[in-house]
């Protein structure tokens, strides 16, 4: 049976959701929460989205989408334009090269992988920002940002998994 016009639109829309959801994570991360001390330790939510989709549906998270997400994150967070974009693209490349390793692994292994990837990503952002300003940027909150990002991972990846099962099974 040939797919009708509307079913094509439906499939295309579903295929866009990984990108859309990750963009949404960038925006959610930017909403002021009015909690003491939260501002400087806001978790790096888009990294979770990129990591998740790059592992489970790499076809729906191409490198160009990752770059756009990074630019949006830079624009909103005030980091030098391109820093996060570059780091996200590198993260995407690393996961892409380790596809064979990640295939069919348990959640714990995937989470452990995220321990390493997010540490590397935050360190890389720190190095790039420091290079940009030509000074060692003090970031007293970096380690907390790391821990909180790690803590968000199980919850968020569970939500993304539900989404994937519900909407992207056939897409």
């Amino acid at each position: 049976m040939r797919p009708t016009f509307w079913s094509k639109v439906d499939t295309a829309a579903r295929k866009l959701t990984p990108f859309g959801l990750t963009m949404l994570l960038v925006l959610i991360g930017a909403v002021p929460l009015h909690l003491p001390g939260i501002a400087s330790v806001t978790p790096l939510l888009p990294l979770i989205g990129i990591y998740y989709w790059a592992i489970y549906r790499p076809d729906l998270m191409p490198v160009s989408a990752v770059f756009v997400i990074g630019i949006l994150y830079d624009a909103l967070s005030g980091t030098p334009m391109g820093v996060s974009a570059a780091v996200f693209v590198i993260v995407h490349g690393i996961i892409d090269s380790q596809r064979r390793f990640f295939a069919g692994k348990s959640f714990m292994i995937i989470w452990l992988g995220f321990f390493l990837v997010s540490a590397g990503a935050l360190l890389a952002i720190w190095i790039l920002v420091s290079a940009y300003y030509g000074t060692f940027v003090k970031s007293e909150a970096l380690i907390f940002q790391y821990v909180i990002t790690l803590g968000c991972f199980p919850l968020l990846s569970w939500a993304l998994l539900r989404w994937q099962r519900a909407f992207l099974r056939q897409a």
Binding site: V31, P32, S40, A75, W126
Partner: protein, 275 residues
Amino acid sequence: MMLGKADAVLVEKLRLRIIDATAPILDVLSRPVDVVTHTVEQAHDWMAIHDENERLREDRARLMQWQTVARRLEAENAALKQLLHFVPEPEGQFVTARVVADSGGAFAHSLLLSAGLRDGVDKGHPVVSDEALVGRIAGVARHSARVLLITDLNSRIPVFVGPTRTRAILAGDNTSRPKLVYLAPEAVVSPGDLIATSGHAGVFPSGIPVGIVNSVGDGEIRVKPYLERERLEYLRVIDYGLTGILGGPPAAAPVAVPNAADPKEVAGSQEGTEP
């Protein structure tokens, strides 16, 4: 990233375009959070209402005395100004705007506001909350603006320190306690001294409260700003009609050289970089 260094104007324009496009979405997203925060705050207030009442009574008694003093000083001040034909500083016009995003993370301390060029906000305008300095407008688009907080790495603000009104620059370094630099070597600074803008460099008017000296030692002086980042919800952007040194691209902003009348003092303050 290197392009950002090469063509700062173009990249900043791109950033502002993106901010302008996303600000309405952020505005909607941040509303429910505000409602929750308000509800929680209200519950807190109800619980503490008795203690608060007691405290306010005491405050009121104390402030009544101050009011008498202030009235007398105000009258005296007005009389003296008239005697001296004093030209008053320009009164500012202000715009009140909502904070729609605080996405700093660990590397940048900035906020996004829901007001922009259309509302009269422009680059360099000081941003205050409860009369204390929060930062300045670092970039402005049509419907939104980006505020650089005084704690950001790129923030340099000329200030007066303490009762002696010693000049210094308040330099942010991405920690919650910015430091004082370019302080005259002979200056005496002690914890608790008040910090207010000095008005040098012609970007801010003088006398906006900034914070108090938090610690002195190890060759650096740290300031505790009045600004409480997590409490910022509505901010006032004030237009004093000052443009000062911020005419150029944002990359030119980091070091503000005090536009002092006395050249000797400028030399002195720059020699004593960090006491």
